[in-house]
Symmetry: C2
Subunit: 356 residues, 2 copies
Amino acid sequence: MKLFTVGPVACYPRVLKAMGEQMYSHRSKEYIDLHYDTVKHLQNILETKNSIYLFSSTGTGFMEASVRNCVKKKVLVCVNGSFGKRFVDVAKANDKDVILIEPPLGVPIASELISEKLETDPEIEAVAITHNETSTGLINPLEELSKTVKDYGKLLFVDAVSSMGGTAINVDKWGIDICYSSSQKCFGVPPGLGVGSVSLNALAASKEAKNKGWYFDLAIWEKYHKEGKGTPMTSTIPQVAGMNAALKFIDENGGKNWVYNLYKERNKEIRNGLSDIGLFTYPQKGFESPTVNCINAPVEVKGVTVYEAMRDKGYELAQGYGALKETTFRMGNMGYIEDGSIRTMLTALGEVIDSL
Amino acid sequence: MKLFTVGPVACYPRVLKAMGEQMYSHRSKEYIDLHYDTVKHLQNILETKNSIYLFSSTGTGFMEASVRNCVKKKVLVCVNGSFGKRFVDVAKANDKDVILIEPPLGVPIASELISEKLETDPEIEAVAITHNETSTGLINPLEELSKTVKDYGKLLFVDAVSSMGGTAINVDKWGIDICYSSSQKCFGVPPGLGVGSVSLNALAASKEAKNKGWYFDLAIWEKYHKEGKGTPMTSTIPQVAGMNAALKFIDENGGKNWVYNLYKERNKEIRNGLSDIGLFTYPQKGFESPTVNCINAPVEVKGVTVYEAMRDKGYELAQGYGALKETTFRMGNMGYIEDGSIRTMLTALGEVIDSL
């Protein structure tokens, strides 16, 4: 089966080799060296001097950490689909008041909507934005939105789950307080590891927070990080080793711009191919994700029918998600995709669409 | 390096092979089959009909889940060392009042101490017990202690991190409400996966709980579990595959009693060897752990000196932990240990002790 999933994605052979290495202690010199080398590479990817923690959880752990540590009462959440909705669920589950911005599906967040909310409700402490919404294949204009949030001096949380390592993010310049992702998307590493950068302002908020819990307490993470101990609990060592292998692979090929261009090229080839077949992607023009494609199924065809037919041909795409489950299917271009695979996949897709 | 660590432990080759397999979606039929097959095997190990969740976290995630979901105000925590202390930290971080039972290090919990506390403080809602304390190499008489807790009708949380899969636990008969462990101990799987059984009474308490968070909300986990969806967030697929391989390996060799006997035999060989060298283990006689040995370093020798000297000889043991860091070193007998390795390790240890 050839994978064009939206995560977990297919992993490069050298990442899988790292995943299968024999274990050792997470308190050993070997692990600590691996840990901080991985942190250094991620700081380079994110262009940040902020601390980076390697959570023994998925990226969702950082959603919980953000609201639990850094929001006393009220947070503004921008929703472009299912993962923005998950942030709302997480914030409410942590007893926070949620103010919502939710444009129609497929439409990006406009900075005017953010400034309007922040202007009228000064109690809002922080703003959460999904950079790249995996459920709708939409990318938000993050640099511009960040500027607005920072103009009002609010904390900024960015869900970069399907964008980090796939397109440029400049954490320090844009002023992102918590910027997080998961191993199983653009990095092409199996799931089980959350990575995120945390600013001094976020840490200051964490110090004031009550009833934070232990597992995602940023103050505890910072203590272990600064003391050179890595993680408070046992680290998810294989995924850290896999992430390290992926980051070194990127470096050997020319660094982050190489992988951003690679994903852009793959994405262009896919979009051109879809257009040739007569298919259209979901989100508003100009805001199509460079890593995840959400494709409208032909009229009167269910998204899952295309998905199943492609499985029969040996290609694992992804089903539609959330509100678009019925009418769309999705296709990622992250992780390990062999040369020529996109072309053969598109040929198969053309045959499937013709046959329906 | 040959590993006699206390976790992460060395993994069997077939487990490492499973860890290195190519990824696929956690919503695919392939993963769902793997997930529920793993659950079924774990229910057999724990002799329970309770739901079992596969957390995308370490075992500590279940500490957080226990207190946050099932304790409104007050919990009794039994402490035999560092991991009992961690439970205290986690409970306090979740804003719970902690009542403490803490006998001198190396001494097990007596059921009279539990009944005394429960008798005098009816506000206590739940009792937390570390079955096998990894930091001191002590095992508590869990069946007896469970009976006392159940006599008072309290919820019972058992940290079985270094005992589950290494010695018998009968969840349903003993009435354990939440019984949890991690992949990287007795199961011989890399870290990054928490496994735990959750009773109907624990779920009923969760339904009443406020401000539970999302990541470890047992009601959400139960919903996904019952609907056949596995995990609410992305599953840590490689470790689930590794766990499945380990559980099948146990089954092929004769089931859980086979592995309990294997660990007992290994442990006996180690303890006899230590005795021959003139070394003594830490905890009170009769309560020595069958999986982790905490060994007093010779007088005027630091534990870490023995640990380092053994590393030079190609054996990775474990350093002392917490209050015993200076005076002890530790040695596990879990996971992948090749035939004859214990003998050669003990010979090396004898040489190290002679030379000091």
